[in-house]
Symmetry: C2
Subunit: 382 residues, 2 copies
């Protein structure tokens, strides 16, 4: 297998971007990545996208997006794993380059969520339609059940959940591309409207438009495009029961654990080697459960990680320095690539006020649905 | 790059299958492939699907389908390139095994089209929403324009188009899994209702439910699963302008040509070496244009291929021995895998009454939209 590097990244702002269409968003991110690398061609394009068919009536994003950046003709396709579509696009690009089928591959993600579709109904297609969505449960409802299970098992409180949001907004305030660049307090979270008890508005990530792209090539060709390539050490993909009711323990994200185990094994490291991480905080409880499943904290102790400062900038292992899905925004198909970009920039000392000192190994973990799929990537300084 | 083989295949019937759901269809095909190989596990699953989100309200098919075959936990994801989604799933599986990331990979395709959705509106999402679909054009309309352009350039007639349907129904009558197992005559086609002038009902492939799956592994491990592996010699993916109006010549499928050139180059062969082919005949005119773009006939001569018997069973190069999309059926996400299965069976001498004698190299070409994307695979006897 050929070793693979990320050599450049591009990203649109995340937010309610009324002036940018699906293809505008994609082109913004993709062209930024290509310009930074000085690349005027690519061999293949993988676009992560959850549901442009339902959001804006557009499937078939491979040729559409190739054309949007003036590269009609190139090999291109879309990959989808609900909110983990971006992570899966990175995996597909990784395999494409590692196999030798292509040398220069753009792995991107995009979602246009604010064009008028019923977002709750569209997102519900990431749940089991026959066993869950049809019966009326929505994603805030599913994650509320996960939160209740964690509260009952480990005494987790609404305030513990609030600390995750407070930390991520503190980080996001330092990120120029974040949707919400303002700090919030624990009291703000606890006073915000109930969405699905015990989850309040400020425990939930927003609805967002956005795109992100990274350029991949064989490690031994990386210096053509940058003096600071970052190596893709490993990729792990895993699944679990589609419906929450089908899992042994709703408070434990077994797909996240399996995706991480596969990635750790491929990279030849353990969770103790990870120095900075982006994890999938679509709801505050998700960050807590992901930290536990990734082995970054002990089982049942995830609820203390944000509160104690351990996962804040300056803490033992900063998590979601980008602001996470909560503050940076969550254009679902773009999220997995945006996470990888934050780690890429951290490992290149480009994260500005969010910089984690001397980090050499970082992890990006992207999840679909209520945890039915997970993709974990591990990146390392060269 | 590791050499990759197909070791087993499974396929549901194609048709209006009211008694089988999306996951039932998938499980039928996937379990048949695994049982034939004697495999009780896989390392990864790629599901090709165009639009289950719009057809049946279900995205996130990776974990759903892994669970449907009792393999929840396995790495799984969906790939999409409209009607070329199956072809793209095969490409993704090929890269996954070739890279060394996985050893045993199921590449599958599935579509459930007859569950009540507005099929014409769903399929239109494979066209350019902003430049085409929004303004009311449908796929029969787009292919009617392609047919008109071919008629004007080369004198192609409605009767030439009818011969494609007659040939493919003759082949499909021999295929136990085909949707329409009856022969038709040229007069039947010319007397059938106009859909979009000059295309009549019997020039058009049907709306279908179905699934297909193939099992891939490194060639040097193939004998564990079968005594007759078939080698994946090459994969070529290409795109063109999403909208028909954006192409230099609407009667020439440039993405098909590019995908074939890439595949021929990778396999180290030319079109003259291909002995049996499945090509994307979503409409009769599409088969004619694909034959020309693949280099299997001279430009402008595709209209004589079916009429002359050249592409019929017993002819110089039999095309769509399965019955093609026209007679076998066209569950869009499954089609690309089903095409590969026909070639796989031909190269194993398993095609029964449809067997092409002594074929050693076969080609499967799968197309998305009005030709905005194309995936060509070349398979060879070991």
């Amino acid at each position: 297998m050929r070793e693979v590097a990320i050599v450049a990244a591009g990203m649109s702002r995340f937010g309610e971007l009324w002036d940018l269409s699906l293809r505008d968003l994609f082109a913004t991110a993709a062209l930024e990545a290509m310009e930074k690398a000085g690349a005027d061609h690519i061999d293949a394009l993988y676009v992560g996208n959850m549901s442009a068919g339902k959001f804006v009536g557009q499937e078939h994003l491979g040729p559409l997006m190739a054309e949007a950046i003036g590269l009609s003709g190139v090999a291109a396709g879309r990959v989808e794993s609900a909110c983990a579509s971006g992570g899966l696009a990175l995996r597909a690009g990784f395999a494409e380059v590692a196999s030798g089928m292509s040398d220069l591959v753009l792995a991107a993600g995009v979602e246009k969520m604010t064009d008028g579709a019923d977002v709750t109904e569209v997102l519900a297609t990431a749940a089991d339609q026959e066993l869950e969505a049809y019966h009326g449960v929505t994603f805030p409802g599913l994650y509320a059940m996960i939160a209740r299970a964690h509260m009952q098992a480990f005494g987790t409180t609404e305030e513990d959940l609030a600390w995750v949001s407070v930390k991520n907004h503190r980080h996001g305030a330092l990120n120029p591309k974040a949707q919400f660049r303002r700090e919030i307090k624990v009291e703000d979270v606890l006073r915000s409207a109930l969405v699905a008890e015990p989850l309040r508005l400020l425990h939930c990530s927003p609805v967002s438009d956005g795109a992100a792209a990274v350029l991949l090539c064989p490690l031994d060709q990386a210096r053509k495009y940058t003096d600071r390539p970052v190596k893709l050490l490993a990729s792990g993909v895993a699944t679990s029961s589609m419906s929450l009711a089908g899992r042994a323990d709703p408070a434990f994200l077994d797909a996240v654990q399996r995706s991480a185990e596969r990635a750790y094994k491929m990279a030849g490291i353990g969770p103790g080697d990870v120095q900075v991480a982006e994890v999938h905080d679509c709801f505050a409880i998700a960050e807590i459960c992901c930290l536990e499943a990734l082995g970054l904290v002990e089982r049942g102790k995830g609820n203390q990680a944000a509160r104690s400062g351990m996962t804040a900038l300056g803490g033992r292992i900063p998590v979601n320095t980008s602001g996470g899905l909560k503050s940076k925004g969550h254009p679902v198909g773009a999220t997995g690539i945006a996470q990888a970009i934050e780690i890429f920039e951290q490992l290149r000392d480009e994260a500005g006020e969010r910089q984690v000192q001397k980090a050499r190994i970082g992890l990006a973990q992207n999840m679909g649905g209520s945890g039915a799929s997970s993709v974990t990537h591990i990146l390392g300084r060269v």
